[in-house]
């Protein structure tokens, strides 16, 4: 269509109109296509390079890479279980803390009509997302962790720590860095992303549904519970997955407050270690002989595959939710 309309324009030099126009169009189009393909190549290259680097460790260690607790550069044996465990625990804590806050905040921003409340709140939450992770880490190390260790940890040990099963999570330890600190910092960091995606989804809930429920006499709470949340459910699951992906991959802030301890402890008040943290700490010191670099690249590969799958699934869920399927 457009192609035809452009070829009708007037020639100002001796060059045939059709040819000159097509060269310009083809160049721009070809150039942008090539660069766009470059982005796809970048993703493919990332996976190939990491897989190539990871191959020696994965082929020599096999499944024991994922199940062994021994991580020892001296004996050249690398088992990543403590890191996998620490990553899962801290991310779970982060989600448990961040989800109610994020969904509550997203609902609030949708319910409140006054722009004097909504705009500042939106800006503040967006700024939370802009804070560099090393600043979160610095604040976590010198302000948050001492406060949590002095007030929250003893309180949790005294109260929840006395419960039969749940108590195992809150056995006190003298460690300064622990998994609870890391979980709390992560929670603060993923609130903006979960809130933003949840808001996006809630905004697409048809107004008729809200109005119909209110017209039938529902209170605001009932209307949210019966009309908004069911409609937005799969989108909220998508938002959660995106938040989880962020939490799994966060490096610097976590490594500064988690204590970097190589044990597997049930207690959240004990030190832990995560996959990104061990990559950050050991990568530069690793020697070129032995499997250490390869093992660290294998961890990076595991991390990125999980993060990309979560991001992809999240995108599909959010899009489906926005189109109104359930």
């Amino acid at each position: 269509m457009e192609e035809r309309s452009t070829t009708r324009s007037v020639s100002d030099a001796g060059v045939p109109v059709r040819r000159r126009l097509r060269i310009g169009d083809l160049t721009l189009r070809g150039g942008t296509v090539a660069v766009s393909l470059g982005l796809v190549v970048l993703l493919a290259g990332l996976l190939v390079v990491l897989a190539t680097g990871a191959a020696p460790a994965l082929s020599q260690l096999g499944l024991s890479f994922f199940t062994s607790r021994q991580w020892d550069p001296v004996t050249n044996h690398f088992g990543a279980l403590p890191y996998i465990y620490g990553t899962l625990v801290t991310s779970t804590v982060a989600l448990v803390l961040a989800l109610p806050v994020s969904i509550g905040l997203a609902l609030l921003l949708n319910e409140v009509r006054s722009k004097w409340v909504r705009n500042p709140l939106t800006v503040l939450v967006d700024l939370l997302a802009a804070i560099p992770s090393v600043v979160y880490g610095l604040w976590g190390l010198f302000v948050l962790a001492p406060a949590l260790n002095t007030y929250l940890a003893p309180f949790l040990a005294r109260t929840l720590g006395k419960l039969p099963v749940l108590g195992a999570l809150f056995v006190p330890t003298p460690a300064v860095g622990n998994m609870l600190n890391a979980g709390v910092i992560l929670a603060v960091m993923i609130v903006p992303i979960i809130t933003a995606v949840t808001r996006e989804v809630i905004a697409t809930v048809p107004a008729d549904l809200r109005e119909a429920s209110l017209a039938l006499g529902a209170t605001r709470f009932e209307s949210i519970r019966m009309a908004v949340l069911p409609y937005a459910r799969s989108g909220i699951v998508g938002a959660t997955m995106l938040g989880l992906g962020r939490a799994l991959g966060e490096t610097i802030a976590v490594s500064m407050v988690i204590g970097n301890g190589l044990g597997i402890s049930a207690s959240l008040l004990a030190p832990g270690y995560t996959i990104p943290a061990v990559i950050a700490n050991e990568f530069r010191e690793a020697t070129s002989t032995g499997l250490q670099h390869s093992a660290l690249l294998a961890l990076a590969l595991v991390l990125v595959v999980i993060a990309l799958v979560l991001a992809g699934a999240s995108r599909l869920l959010v899009r489906r939710s926005e189109r109104g399927f359930r």
């Binding site: 452009t6 990491l50 804070i131 990125v304």
Partner: protein, 278 residues
């Protein structure tokens, strides 16, 4: 009946609490960074380089120049790539290729930053046998390219189709329409995208840690290991010397200031843009 109303009031109250809980950390972080960072900031902080262990004074000038070098190169690489990808998606992209590219751009936004560092270490640092500012810039490009693409595509889509149709109806070729009408109209939106990406680049620690390493001295050679402000904060925060910890807070106030100014500036620009086009 009253029980239902009470439940509703209680629920709305809980939403307000959630809003408050979400904002408190921001206030606390800014407060403590100002409180502990301001005493560290003086003229020497911006002119001197890293002090030896245990010696008071010193500054972060080598890290600031290093951050400028690394993020500057990353911006020069990622802006053209990001904008061209966005132009493809918004002006030409149809069919499977466009759907695929858009999906790749979206999921690349979720690449853990440490993974970008490990990838570029294996690709560039190993090949060049040296950590370098250039490797750091390429690692940041992996993160900044999708950010610029996403934000620029959004802003290009705000350009009214009437403008495009008017240009084409006057006989302007498509490529000229894109370069002379669409991109200038979206100009401040593209600037917003770049500012957001630069803010991200300033703050990233993990990718630079694995690619640019560190340097106690000022370095302007892109092929040598180079310092950066977030790297310094990370190293100093974990040291035992109070003087170094003070410097870390000084670095934090500089970094947070730069990032917040860029983010708020980007927001003001994009609000203005949306009012103008929407």
């Amino acid at each position: 009946m009253t029980a239902r109303k009470a439940a509703s009031t209680l629920f709305m109250g809980a939403l307000w609490v959630a809003g408050l809980v979400a904002v408190i950390p921001l206030v606390l972080i800014v407060y403590y960074v100002l409180l502990k960072g301001l005493p560290a900031v003086h003229v020497g902080f911006f002119t001197q380089t890293a002090p030896p262990p245990g010696v008071p004074g010193g500054g972060m000038s080598q890290a600031m120049w290093g951050t400028g070098l690394i993020v500057g190169m990353a911006t020069l690489i990622s802006v053209p790539l990001g904008v061209l990808t966005a132009v493809y998606l918004s002006e030409f992209g149809r069919g499977r290729l466009a759907v695929g590219v858009r999906f790749v751009a979206e999921i690349l936004l979720s690449t853990p930053s440490i993974v970008a560092g490990a990838f570029i270490w294996a690709l560039v640092v190993v090949a060049m046998h040296s950590f370098s500012a250039l490797a750091g810039a390429i690692a940041l490009t992996v993160l900044m390219w999708p950010i610029i693409t996403r934000a620029t595509e959004e802003t290009l889509r705000l350009v009214p189709d009437e403008l495009r149709e008017a240009a084409l109806a006057l006989g302007v070729p498509r490529w000229k329409m894109v370069l002379r009408i669409v991109i200038p109209t979206a100009g401040s939106g593209i600037l917003t995208a770049v500012m957001l990406a630069v803010a991200r680049g300033f703050g990233e620690t993990a990718p630079i840690l694995l690619t640019s390493l560190r340097n106690d001295f000022l370095n302007t050679n892109p092929l040598q290991p180079t310092d950066a402000v977030p790297l310094r904060i990370y190293n100093y925060a974990q040291s035992a010397f109070p003087a170094w910890q003070t410097l870390a807070w000084g670095g934090a106030i500089t970094l947070l200031g730069a990032v917040l100014v860029l983010s708020i500036g980007a927001r003001l620009l994009s609000d203005r843009q949306q009012r103008r086009l929407g």
